[in-house]
Structures are given as C-alpha cells and as structure tokens.
C-alpha cells in the first residue's frame, strides 16, 4: 500500500523524525562502545547487558526504594557504572596483554551470565515502568510524545558533551595519549590504569543511561539489550571503530535510514543496517569516519 510515490510528505516527515528518535538510542549506545574501544581497545560485548541493567536498575529504584524516573536518571549511570568499574578491575584488566579476542569472549560470556541471572529472577515478559512525561503535541504531520522529544534532546546533549570531553579538553587529550603510548603517559606521572578503569566505568554509565531512557517506552526485560546490541555493533563498525563523532553521526543516520525502510519495505527493516555494514566493509573497511590502524 505504500508505494514509493504514494508516500505523502507528512508520512515521510513523521518517519524521519521517528528515525531520529531511534537513532538517538543507537548513538548513545554506540558512543559508549566507541569510547571503550577507542580508549581501551576492548570490544565490550557486555554493553547490551549493561543497558538492560540500566533499565532494571531504574525499575528497582522505583519499586524497592520509591525513587522516581528523574532520580534514576542521575543515580543509575553512577550505580551501573560502578559495577562496570568492578568488572574492569576484577576481569578485564587481566586481559590487556592478550589479543582483543579474549576481551570479546570474556565480555560476551559476562553478558550471557548477566542476562541469565536477570531472566531467572524476573522472567522474560518484562516489567511495567510508567511514562514520566505522558502526553505530547500534534505537529501536524505526526503526534510527537513529549517523552520521545526529551530522549532526543538528552541524547544529543550527552553525545556532544562526551565528544567535547574527549576531543577538546585536557583530560581527553591525556586519555587519547594514554591509548597511543601508555608507557610514556605513565612516565609523565599520570595514573594510566586508573584512567582506563574510569573510562570503562564511564562507557558503562552511558549504556545504563540509555537503559533508563528506554525503560518507559520499551518492555523492560532481560533480553532487551541482546536485541539491540548487534545493531549497535553494526553502527560502530559502519562509523569506524573508536571514532567518537563517527558513532554519533552514524547512530542518528542509520536510525533515519531504518525509519525510511520501515515505510518503503518494512520486512527489510531489521536487515538494512547490516546491508549497509557489508557495503561499507567492502568499500571502506576502516568505517566511514575511522582511520586505518
């Protein structure tokens, strides 16, 4: 029923906006992955599980302690980020001298364990989490829920702030230097291992933040991250592993592309991102914004 020509401009605007909204989740998640990979060379497969933990933590704060959404928005990234720091200290830090693959296997295994534990405790159907910003506004071409607008705004703000922090501040330059030559940076009296640990915690905190943002609109269930993480990895690969701005732009861009696919050929909307990934890998293996390593 929706032929290419048959799509009204209103429908198109609506889908573009929705794509942007979904893209903001991709951007926020792929940003965390890119930060961790760019600065630590660890492919963090636990990212999806940490996103899920963020959503569950928001639910737990509300139901066990009575802390509402806005409090969770601040507390959850700190709490889940702290668990990330523990994971880095206890497990990941032991693998730095080995090949990347070991880190990948470890984090993938951790993700399975975490998802299994949550599934055991809470089942698979998910938990209800009510929308803190009900209602919305009619834009003429579509109904924009306030909550979705808020998601785009906060995600853009966090993405840009992170980019600024890493690419434009002194702290960021230390981080980048420590990636290139950890020994030299250490010689200048900077505690590189601690910086790496905090970086991981920060990346995990970003995933948890995305989880809190997702709780009111997606079903809060143990596999919510597993469904998303593969797409997010594709986003990171397309953007260029480790490129901060690349993952932000690609996240939003692919969200829009996916949104358009949902209008013109909905059956392919799960696949389109991977088709793009395959094409990018053939033509530009380092990714759209990446530099060859």
């Amino acid at each position: 029923m929706f032929e290419f020509i048959g799509v009204s401009p209103q429908a198109l605007f609506g889908q573009l906006l929705l794509g942007l909204i979904n893209g903001s989740f991709y951007a926020l998640l792929s940003l965390g992955l890119a930060v961790i990979f760019g600065l630590m060379n660890v492919i963090n497969f636990t990212h999806g599980a940490q996103y899920m933990m963020g959503a569950f933590a928001a639910w737990m704060l509300l139901n066990y302690l009575g802390i509402p959404y806005w409090g969770a928005l601040v507390l959850v990234p700190i709490l889940v980020g702290t668990t990330g720091i523990l994971v880095e200290r206890l497990f990941i830090s032991r693998l730095y001298h080995l090949d990347h693959l070991y880190g990948l296997l470890l984090t993938f295994g951790l993700a399975l364990v975490l998802e299994g534990l949550f599934r055991r405790q809470y089942g698979i159907s998910g938990l209800p989490y009510s929308n803190p910003l009900p209602g919305g506004t009619n834009l003429g071409f579509m109904f924009l829920p306030w909550y979705r607008a808020w998601v785009v705004a906060i995600s853009l703000a966090v993405c840009l702030a992170t980019w600024f922090l890493i690419e434009r501040t002194k702290l960021g330059s230390y981080l980048r230097a420590a990636t290139e030559r950890p020994d030299l940076v250490q010689a200048f009296g900077i505690n590189v291992p601690r910086m790496i640990t905090l970086t991981y915690g920060f990346g995990v905190g970003l995933a948890a933040l995305a989880g809190v943002l997702a709780a009111p609109i997606y079903s809060v269930n143990p596999i919510m991250g597993a469904n998303l993480i593969i797409v997010v990895f594709a986003v990171v690969v397309i953007g260029g592993m480790g490129s901060i701005m690349g993952s932000i732009l690609t996240g939003f861009g692919l969200g829009i592309l996916e949104g358009l696919t949902k209008v013109f050929y909905p059956e392919a909307s799960n696949t389109v991102i991977f088709v793009v990934m395959a094409i990018v890998l053939i033509l530009r293996p380092q990714g759209l914004f990446g530099t060859a390593r």
Binding site: S125, L127, P128, M142, Y218, V263, P266
Partner: protein, 407 residues
C-alpha cells in the same frame, strides 16, 4: 551403553516379576517419554517455558495418583529458540536417538509446522499447545498431530466478531512477519470481512521487533478504527506500550490484541492494559479446580499464574496418558492419536470435550476484558469475562479447513 541396556533389562524383568498389568504392555524402550519443546529463554519463555514442563510433570503425577502407573514415564525438555531449524534438529534427535514418543507444546508456528512434518514421517505423536496457526488442522493436518488449546481462527472468531459487532468496522493490521502472524492476520481479516467490516491496510514487522513507533504511525495515518495486533508476547507488549505513548487511543483508534496471554497483561500492568479485549481458552480464576491448579503452579514458578498454553499442556498430556494406557502401547503414533480422537476428553482444567477428525481439540473459548486498576482485587486478578463462545462455535467448521484427512 551395554551397561544401560542391561540395567533396563533388569528393570523390565523386575517389573515382570511383580506381575503387574504392564507385563503385557508394549512400550518402546519400556518408557513413555514425553518431550516438551518450547522457548526456554526468549520472548515466549514465560508463557510456555519451564511452566509447560511443570504442567507436563503435574499431569503425570495426577494421572498416576488416579490410575495405576506401572510404567516408567519420563519428561525431557528442550529450547527451540523460536527457530525452525533448531526445533527440527532437536526433534529428529529425540525421535531417532532418545526414543521420545510424544512432543508437546511447541509455541512459534513456524517451528510447530516443521515438527508437524517430522512427527508424521516418524509416526510419533505431536500435541500442540503453544503454537497458533490454524493450518495445523487445515491444509497441514496429519494423522499424528492434535492441536489442543487455541488457534488463529478461534482467536479471530472470538475477538474480531465481538469488535465488529460493537462498531469497529475499519481495520489496520500490525503483523509479525512469519507463519503465525500471517495466519492470524488472514483469519482475522476473513472474520472482519464476513461480519461486514473492511481491512484498510496492514504492515508487517520483523520478528521479534523492538520499536513499533514507525508502524504505529502508519496505522495512525490509515485512519482505521481498529488496529489489530497480529503478533504475540514481547512484540504485543511493546506495541501496546508504545501505542499508549503515541496517543493511539486518544486519537479515537482502538487496539485489538489478537493473541494476548496473562503474562503479557502482567508485564504491561493494568494501567496500560485496561480495557483490552481478547480471546483465550483458559483463565486461572474461573473455578475452584483452576484456582487450585494455579496455586500449586505459582508455588513452583515464582508466583506466576499459568497461561492457557501451560494449562493446555496439562490437559493434553493427561489425555495422551489415558490413550496410551488403554492401548497398552505407545509405539504406533497414528494409532495413539486415533485412540485419543475416539475417546472423549475429560480433565480438571478443560472439563469435557472432544477431538475432531482433523486433529482439532474442541472446547469453549472465552472473550475477556482486562480490568481497570480499581476493579482488580489483588495480584493476577486481571480479567473479567465478557462472553463464552460455545464449543460448537469456537473453532473453524471442519469442512472449511481443507484438511485431507476429512472425507
């Protein structure tokens, strides 16, 4: 292996020497082996999963309390991950190597259709509780399969009829893009059109999906009065949640959940789910027998209440055991199914019923409405009964299915 065999021989000898009736019975391997296959980890695992395994074990326990069970009855289970290739491999292994006699449950229609074929080839028994597609008793029917709890036709018949009668004439479908979604959409569209309604559009979403906003926007722009959700489990939960967010109901459109389980309502919460109308075969709070079963189920399953799928597994296994014990044999799958069809069904959860020639189990279906938060008296008190659809009208007339077994 030899050790195992000799042990079994010893056990058989022991059984013989006890002079039990089982001495004459011809059970392959000396054991009735029931394989519960379903989703143990993914989006359908709460509505089937370990709960179905528990229900199968419970059926054996109850059956053996009421009758003398001389034979070894065993339950094995496996996770098909909602993938037909994985399900087929498991079932082949079960039939060929592990000597499983009957496969039960199997949600996800694409997997069930695959198991349906293999079961016929191997002449075993397949009792479907979880899968929905009415093709299992239609063009894909076999002498070895019984479709127990519900199907796409009965859901469509119950829900769509009720909605069209109250004025919901124009429909738009949001359909999960695989065998089940297509069947549910097809059967519902037929009911809608027959009742004088119209289908104004549809969109097929990948399975499983996460974000439904694009599809909901298309549904919104179609101006249809009713948005029919031809999906299940997590997909339905996410669709309903996001429909609330995008003001679907506020814009004058209504949702029709075409397949909703009590676990979905629990996950949505009454605030979001209230007013939803749908059809089910079984609800835990309908009579004392159901409540007693649910109480035991809850104690063993983290306080959850059983779904109709899990209750159906109990009922199906009970009837299977009756037939096998009457025949004193479980080797010939088609013969067991024929016996099951000849014998009227009777158990504490589904009451009295029957099984048709095409493999369709017949019982009443129920149209439920989700209570408002104020009406609910406690946890899991979610449904009020809107209508009972009598057994004779609840399922597709046998002549319309196109099942080759029906002459």
């Amino acid at each position: 292996m030899t050790m195992q065999r000799s042990l079994k021989a010893w056990a058989a000898a022991a059984a013989l020497s006890m002079g039990a009736g089982a001495a004459l019975a011809d059970y392959t391997d000396g054991t009735i082996k029931i394989g519960v296959m379903n989703d143990q980890s993914g989006l359908y695992s709460d509505l089937s999963g370990q709960g179905s395994v528990w229900a199968a074990r419970k059926a054996i326990e109850d059956f053996c309390k009421a009758n003398t069970c001389h034979d070894k009855i065993e339950v094995v289970f496996a996770d098909h991950q909602n993938k037909p290739d994985i399900g087929s491999n498991v079932v082949r292994q079960w039939y060929d190597v592990d000597k499983v006699d009957v496969v039960v449950d199997v949600p996800t229609s694409s997997v069930a259709l695959a198991v349906n074929n293999i079961t016929k080839d191997k002449n075993k028994v397949f009792l479907v509780s979880g899968a929905a597609t009415a093709d299992l008793t239609g063009k894909a029917c076999t002498p070895n399969t019984i479709h127990w709890t519900y199907d796409t036709w009965s859901l469509a018949n119950g829900t769509a009829n009720a909605i069209v009668k109250t004025g919901g004439k124009n429909w738009f479908f949001l359909t999960a893009d695989y065998a089940f979604g297509h069947a549910l959409e097809r059967d519902t569209a037929a009911v809608v059109e027959k009742a004088g309604g119209k289908v104004v559009g549809k969109v097929r979403h990948p399975f499983p999906g996460q974000d439904f906003s694009s599809f909901l926007l298309q549904a919104q722009q179609s101006k249809a009065q009713i948005i029919g959700l031809a999906n299940a489990g997590g997909d339905t939960i996410n669709s309903i949640k996001q429909a609330g967010e995008f003001g679907i109901a506020a814009g004058g459109q209504n949702l029709a959940g075409l397949l909703v389980f009590i676990t979905d309502v629990h996950a949505l919460g009454l605030q979001t789910a209230q007013g939803l109308i749908f059809t089910e075969a079984w609800y835990w709070d309908m009579n004392d027998a159901n409540r007693a079963f649910a109480k035991e189920f809850g104690a063993a399953n983290k306080g959850n209440m059983p779904t109709m799928v899990q209750a159906g597994v109990y009922s199906a296994v009970t009837h299977y055991l009756k037939a096998v014990h009457a025949l004193k044999s479980d080797g010939d799958g088609a013969a067991v199914v024929t016996k099951m069809k000849e014998t009227p069904t009777e158990d504490k959860l589904f009451g009295n019923g029957s099984i048709r020639q095409d493999g369709r189990k017949i019982h009443p279906m129920y149209l439920f409405e989700v209570k408002k938060p104020a009406e609910s008296k406690g946890p899991w008190d979610y449904y009020k009964l809107r209508a009972t659809i009598a057994a004779a009208e609840a399922f597709r007339p046998i002549a319309d299915g196109g099942c080759p077994l029906v002459k």
